[in-house]
Amino acid sequence: MIDTLHRRGFLKVAGAAAGSLCVNLPGASGLEEGTASNHPRFLTSCCAYSYGDYLKSGKMTMEDFIRKAVELDIDAVDLTTYWFKSTDPDYLLGLRHLAFKLGVLFSGIAIRNSLCYAEADKRAQQVEEIKKWVDATDILGTSQIRVFGGKVPKGATDAQGIDWVVETLKPACDYAAKKGVTLAIETHHEITEKASNVVEILHRVDSPYASVTLDISNWLEEPYGQIETLVPYATNTHIRDFYGPPPRPLDLDRVWQIFAKAGYKGFMTVEYESTEDQMTGVPKLVEKVKALCKKYSSV
């Protein structure tokens, strides 16, 4: 299988030992080379989370949110599952059909979880929980799930935490692979605060169905360097226009340039989280994302 992520991951590991190895890789066909970096594809999307206040209070349903995409003039929506009525197939198929009829794509779904448990039984429970969502993702006809790394328990080291995450993510990815679904671990503070930790987790999980949901905003420092490190592993992004804490502005144009240089192909997904009312705040952030995608995307 020609698999960019896997090849890149492999290259990174192998490249440290022998940079010339890449010419021997079967995946590195002429076609693949010709289509990689010179065609950045940025599709526009928005997380349901952006309208969390409205979804939480019941003023907006997931169906309303899907219709919002038409109003926002974006390609896709990302379904934050916190506000799903159920995982009943009829409900999920209703959402899939509604989106299809409106020409609205799904960039993926997002779940609330932790992969970082010291206890083996809790890790096993997490794997089961993720499997349930893999099935739901498949019913929706979409192909990726945002998962969280989670918090390293008090007294444990980062190294231990990474072990636990790998032990949970690996069997979950094996199951996801059988459904054609990718598990994309989000850069979201805690065990995923440093890009280097995320890269180590992915190398050790070593599955083409493991990737990154690159939230560009969750950094204490050096946002651009960390983003650049992770773009080759990213299959989805979360976009805000600041990073932190403490909140500092992000140069989104610079961020898009980093993604374009790396030939990123996927969704640029608005995940609004500010004090302004979401009804007025989200469209403003969407406008910025649309303008940048128009500027840098080949599609």
């Binding site: 299988m1 289509t35 059909h97 509604l98 794509l105 006809g141 192909s143 169905y209 192909k265 599609v299």
Partner: protein, 301 residues
């Protein structure tokens, strides 16, 4: 669900008594039902594998390579013409799904060659089974649309009989498709599907939110623009070429076609389905370029 389609469903039901005036109502742009979004035209760019049929036939291109072509063509989605799938095996289909996902490519749908206009009841049952298998294929790809054909009317049969047979296949197939979240689009493609009125009648009688029209704009034997316009409210997928079929391969006024889709509030893919003498490798990008220009001009997204 207050989808645009349900509104159409309602219009369809309401218009059953007077099918001719129904078309006029839709054309006039009936106001959206309460709670629906405004009918923003969303015209997404796509390309059918069929466009590269010569290469796929000859084994000079694999489905994987076609999917990656979308990156080079800079289109949003690809439509998987099933003729060149190696198998219906989940592992193979999941690989294609994964390849597309990794490259930010969406599937606008899949297309099978099943023709539904079959006089023999036993054979019709077999066709339903066949379509069900292709629905499973679409679902394994994570695609939500499947193109099916009406087919040729057998010698000696009446159009009324032909439509009965198509409905008898498409109805149970749509029931199955509904369980998988896949919509069946009957293509406007000669035979029993030559004229918009027949397709509309079939869809009214199948009466499923999972049955629509795969609107190929090129195959109408007469009044093509009127036929296209009549079918846009039912369209769940569109095939684009820049000239009509033989025997009168006149160029199509694509600008006019796009304007009709905009007026109809179409929300879906506009997929290149190239089929001419020029080498697809040089010709498909030209057709795609036309589609991209028009989508950029008329689409809200």
């Amino acid at each position: 669900m207050n989808t645009a389609f349900d509104r159409r469903g309602f219009l369809q039901a309401a218009g059953l008594a007077a099918a001719s005036s129904l078309v006029a109502d839709v054309r006039a742009g009936a106001p959206p039902a309460e709670g629906t979004t405004r009918p923003q035209p969303r015209l997404l760019t796509g390309c059918c594998a069929y466009s590269y049929g010569k290469y796929l036939d000859a084994g000079k291109m694999t489905m994987e390579e076609f999917i990656l072509k979308a990156v080079e063509l800079e289109v949003v989605g690809v439509d998987v013409t099933a003729y060149w799938l190696k198998s219906k095996e989940p592992a193979y289909l999941h690989n294609l799904r994964h390849l597309a996902q990794k490259h930010g490519i969406l599937f606008s749908g899949a297309a099978c060659g099943t023709e539904m206009c079959e006089p023999d009841a036993g054979k019709r049952a077999a066709l339903v089974t066949e379509i069900k298998q292709w629905i499973d294929v679409a679902d394994l790809l994570g695609a939500s649309h499947l193109r099916v054909f009406g087919g040729e009317l057998p010698r000696g049969a009446t159009a009324a009989q032909g439509k009965d047979w198509v409905v008898e296949v498409m109805k149970p197939a749509s029931d199955y498709a509904a369980k998988k979240g896949v919509t069946l689009g009957i293509e406007s493609h000669h035979g029993i599907t030559s004229m918009a009125a027949d397709i509309i009648e079939i869809l009214h009688r199948v009466d499923s939110p999972y049955a629509g029209c795969n609107l190929d704009i090129t195959h109408f034997p007469k009044d093509p623009y009127a036929q296209i316009e009549a079918l846009i409210p039912y369209a769940t997928m569109t095939h684009i070429r820049d000239h009509f079929d033989e025997p009168r391969p006149d160029p199509i006024d694509l600008e006019r076609v796009w304007q009709m889709f905009v007026k109809g509030g179409y929300q879906g893919f506009m997929a290149a389905e190239y089929e001419s003498k020029e080498d697809p490798v040089t010709a498909v990008p030209k057709l795609v370029a036309k589609i991209k220009t028009l989508c950029k001009k008329y689409s809200s997204v």
